[in-house]
Symmetry: C2
Subunit: 230 residues, 2 copies
């Protein structure tokens, strides 16, 4: 009998691959953990030029210990598919921890799992959480009881160490950190809106403005459709 802890990662076209490959690499170094990655129908998933195949079928998973939903520009399109939302709701009901990285929290929100709960999200999309009744939190890793959410993209690694420590112990997380030599030394300090040079921040915000407006409307539509705000 397999007594490993099962972490389940649903992916979809347009997922930001580092949202889940970061955590996946850390989780997969822990002997007590099994990681399962799945998509609708087990279909291959394209993400920024990488194709992930040999996936499990998302609609065919019975249960998991941890549900871990990654983000990406495709997150709201994924949430439009009722099969995807049904699978997320079902698995969340079986999991000890319901988690996300980056804009994966918008999927949790659309599924109605964050009402009244604090959650992290990528800085540029965090303002959309209240559309789903969630309370945005700017921390890199946010825990609200059984909900653990990470901030944008690379926050997934800090998130993964937090989840590993929670599921096992600090020592197991530290061994994974040493094996994966996670002693970050960014050559610049531009990783948050608060620390990035103003010109960098303004450039990125201007680039994203149009996309943000259209995704905001998309999120409003989903909140209405799935009645997740009430």
């Amino acid at each position: 009998m397999d007594s490993k802890l099962r972490i389940f990662i649903p992916i979809y076209p347009g997922v930001t691959h580092l949202d889940f490959t970061g955590p996946h690499q850390f989780f997969s170094r822990v002997p007590q953990i099994d990681v399962v990655v799945a998509s609708i129908g087990g279909e291959p998933v394209d993400a920024q030029g990488l194709t992930f195949s040999n996936l499990d079928d998302l609609t065919d998973i019975a249960a998991c210990d941890v549900l871990c939903v990654p983000g990406g520009l495709g997150c709201l399109d994924a949430a439009k598919d009722i099969r995807f939302i049904h699978a997320i709701r079902h698995l969340a009901g079986t999991a000890k921890f319901v988690t996300s990285v980056c804009t994966g929290s918008l999927i949790l929100g659309a599924a109605g799992l964050l009402h009244g709960r604090r959650a992290a999200c990528h800085w540029a999309w965090r303002d959309m959480l209240p559309l789903f009744g969630a309370i945005p939190d700017p921390a890199r890793v946010v825990r609200d009881d059984e909900i653990i959410t990470g901030g944008g993209v690379t926050a997934g690694i800090d998130f993964a160490l937090t989840v590993i420590a929670e599921l096992t112990d600090d020592e197991t997380a530290q061994r994974a950190q040493l094996i994966l030599e996670y002693a970050p030394a960014p050559p610049f300090d531009a990783g948050r809106p608060e620390t990035a040079p103003a010109a960098i921040h303004d450039h990125v915000v201007a680039d994203m403005a149009e996309l943000q407006a259209s995704r905001y409307r998309q999120a409003q539509y989903l909140a209405e459709r799935y009645a997740t705000r009430r």
Copy 2:
């Protein structure tokens, strides 16, 4: 005519996926950069439970601006394949920068590209670099003229920002850093042998001892076969 900078990433079974998905995610957010990922024959590649498909054929690539070789437990097995080594040597000859992440530097070494050169490597495998005539450097990102190498696994992200800044400018690298919210906040400080608690370090080193010994012999064999030490 495509005037984008072409970064080429060769992968192989047993590659540590975060060695290249980290840099790939950063590179792919830079408009001036095209990233190509390839394997021998364009075959799908398995890595820690993820399968990467839809790959280019490594033996069919004419040239690139940056060669970026990731590491992993399969690195020396990959280097045993003369087609793989031929492709690495050929592409290195066309590239402006020859680079690696983690134990990818052992592949560069086996290919004879690091003789007398300083290079980074994963901390646990760094001592094998001299077998290929290279000079191990414990820094997270090491530059020796056109050779840029990153340390273990997650160092690939710091490495990627360094390479992006070199290929374009600091501002472009900073924009990628902000978009991917790279403001790391590890919950533990166990990412380097020097900072990890002694018990953590000893446990990991003991776990790896047997593997290290067999891989050392494998590297000796490759150094002999490809005459890369002379």
